[in-house]
Amino acid sequence: MSQLSRIGTVVQSDPMSQDIFPPRVRRWLFTTNHKEVGILYLVTSLFFFVAAGLLALTMRTQLSVPNNNVLTETLYNQFVTVHGLLMIFWVLSPLAFGFANYIIPLQIGARDLAFPRLNAMSYWFYLFSGVAIIMSFIFGAPDLGWTLYSPQTAFQFTPTIGLNVGAAALILITVSITMSSVNFLVTMFKMRAPGMKLRNMPVFPWAILVTIFMMLYAFPSFLAAVLLLYVDRAFGTFYFSSIQGGALLWDNVFWFFGHPEVYIVLFPAIGVIADVIPTFTRRPLYGSKYVIGSMIAAAVISFIVWGHHMFVTGIGLTSTKLYTVTTIAVSLPFDVMVIAMIETLIKARVKLKAAALFALGAIALFVIGGITGVYLASVALDHALRGTYFVVAHFHYIMVGASIMGLIAGLYYWFPKLTGRMYNETVAKVHFVVSFIGFNILYFPMFLLLDMPRRIQTYAPDTGWGPLNALATLGGFIFGGAQILLFLNLFFSQQRGLPSGSNPWDGWTLEWSLPSPPPAHDFDTIPTIAEDGTYHFGNSPGLPNGTGYPNGSKIGNGYSHSHLEGLSAWPVVVAFAAFIFFLGLTIGQPSNPTTPVTFQPFWPLIADGAILGVIALYGYSRERFQVHEETHVESWPFREVPNVKLGIWTFLGAEVIFFGVLIGAYFFVRTNSPTWPEIGSLFEIRNGFAMTLVLLTSSLTAIMALVSAKIGSRNGLIASLLGTFGLGISFLYIKATEWFYLGTHGVFSVANGLPATSYFITTGTHGVHVFAGMLMTLYLLANTLKGRYLKGDHQAIEHFGLYWHFVDIVWVFLFPLFYLI
């Protein structure tokens, strides 16, 4: 095993990884350095960008003339779906988080993210989830649009298992995003350079921070929704295929996630633009605090606008009025952001470098996309325009025009920092001009296709849609072709470009104070931010409040810069194990194609994934990869809270949303059902009572384990952990007995009604959490037997307790909900 001391310092690398892989491969497979992980994110997301773009160009070719037959109906639908999924989940956010990985620790004066191995694991989960979504084509890719509307997801309408594989991909990437969110949040709260108050953080980290908050609330909801979708298809449950649940349940849980997701992919681009514009205008961002405040306001409001996607679902007049108001309201903070950008530009002498051009282009396109979005807030207009190419044009002006263009601005802006070389400015400007023209030829005609339904594979000549579609296709190829310039420019420039120096743009943020590319350890000394909040380090003497390069407070860092490799083999192995485990769950062909149950486990893969996963997690936990917490950094408001504890509480917050959606779905189907089994008619209350007592007692033993560890009582700790483990087994035994009894009596299998569906899935998900907790108990027991946790190093016991008590709290609610009411 690797022997690591201090942050990411490899003392003795993993022999397995050393022997098998050449150094260059090892570096990229096992890196935990935020900059290298950032580059991995950037490169991978650009690969998926190309894949999604090729799908889009094929679709445009299909639509270029009436009655075309380049693509079959099914293939066209699959392309539409996978294109949308790829762009939203595998391109936009990961591209932004590639920058976030690389740049944010530099901008806030941190040495790395709070949990470097978790960061690497997030990336590998992302990569393998992308492989899974591409692989879904082998099994009949999802073909019902990225919104995966119910009841089209039901087995009878989508019998191919490609949708199951797609669901597995979505689950994997949601896990990746959740890990990433926790990591960034702890980093930005706890690892800022001395003097960098939250209010002084640059806008880009703020944009990412707000994005993370939205992710933490939105993605657990989505995870729960996809889990329910998967179990409906795999086990024949009824959440989305019943009248009581059905399309409306999916619409709500999906769009509760889906609308904030729009801002999740947009805000990072706004953050990039807010960094780029001041640099190239040589002026501070006008009203930067209002811009940040507007982002926060938009993030909050974004969670109460989802109903505008459902105006035609019959949600009622009151709701439609409410959502019209909130949707118009959410446009106001964006007005503030745009005005701030414009105010910054007024009378400024803008250096029209490629990054600035893309940023300006993104603002212009965002204004068009935003205004056309306000049209859709009107119920009357939405009734007319929904499901047409007007909507397609609107959201592409946001997603591509604002987000992609903004992020490309970031690519040009930070390319010199990443590579130490300049790109070819002329080619980059041509890239912008051709992209901007191509984009508008591609999407503007779609505003005029007011009556053309989206997602149709072809159309008749007499519709009159042919010329505008031909124009849009031409624009698509111009826009797509322009991106070749980007890739060629970046590829050759990173090899042969002129040296960029540390600060080619006279940038004001901290990353520009470092050499390009920065050294592995980022800062020789952690900088200190001046009391007045300014910290620009540009080499232009005319900059306001210039303070020169920071020499900071010379905080002793305890590092030896020469061996900061920070390699770990386990993140990629854990992610790969999860990948093959989920593939095993989803790729087996159903033995009986007429049954609405597609679950046909492919046991070899499942077993391999499970075994490899256990080994990898054990190796991960055994690896001495200690992350040193700096003591003098800016960490308000969590100065006294250790990083890991803050991370666990944040993760538990995401779990609250996850279980909240499961319980909400149960409430929904139950209150919509005309009848429900009488209390005590199916479940023995005494079983529930017994399980509750067992779990409450296990919480007591878990807290006693902490007490024992604190007072150094080895026997007490062992007894308490054994007690917790035994009670966990007892809980699962009673649960299994109950399940077995209900199943064998034939009246209550998972697929014979909503009471069974909601009971088995909700309590089953909780049971999986109990099982995971028991594995942790075993690990803690093994370490206790070796004498750990008794000498003031009891944090692991405490952290386990936080999780275990949370699992207990969930059951405290499930017991009355399923057994007593």
Binding site: L249, N252, I315, V656, G660, I679, L700, A702, F813, L820
Partner: protein
């Protein structure tokens, strides 16, 4: 108070509350006779009982969070962080639920 005693006291309250939860089911209106009390027979409406049960569950969850998860003793920033997160999550989930039923 000695922390061990405190944990035991919390445990006793949790078990006692669970016992109340189980027994309160007897007060459902469907139990035609209700429950003989000192001053006669009572039966509570379904809504009242559900509210009591969920209230008890909330109280138990709060006790576990405050004392077993140590939120009571954590810095105020962390307890506020959890509380604010929980309140926002609850509001959002309630909103989803209300939305589902306004329809």
């Amino acid at each position: 108070m000695n922390t061990t005693y405190l944990y035991l006291l919390v445990f006793a309250i949790l078990v006692g509350s669970t016992d109340i939860e189980v027994n309160i089911v007897a007060l459902y209106p469907s139990a035609s006779t209700g429950v003989a009390m000192l001053f006669g027979t009572i039966a509570l409406s379904y809504g009242v009982i559900v509210s009591i049960l969920l209230g008890l569950a909330g109280m138990k969850a709060l006790l576990i969070a405050l004392f077993y998860q140590h939120l009571k003793y954590e810095p105020r920033s962390l307890s506020s962080w959890v509380l604010i997160g929980l309140v926002i999550a609850s509001l959002l989930m309630s909103l989803v639920f209300i939305q589902l039923h306004v329809h």
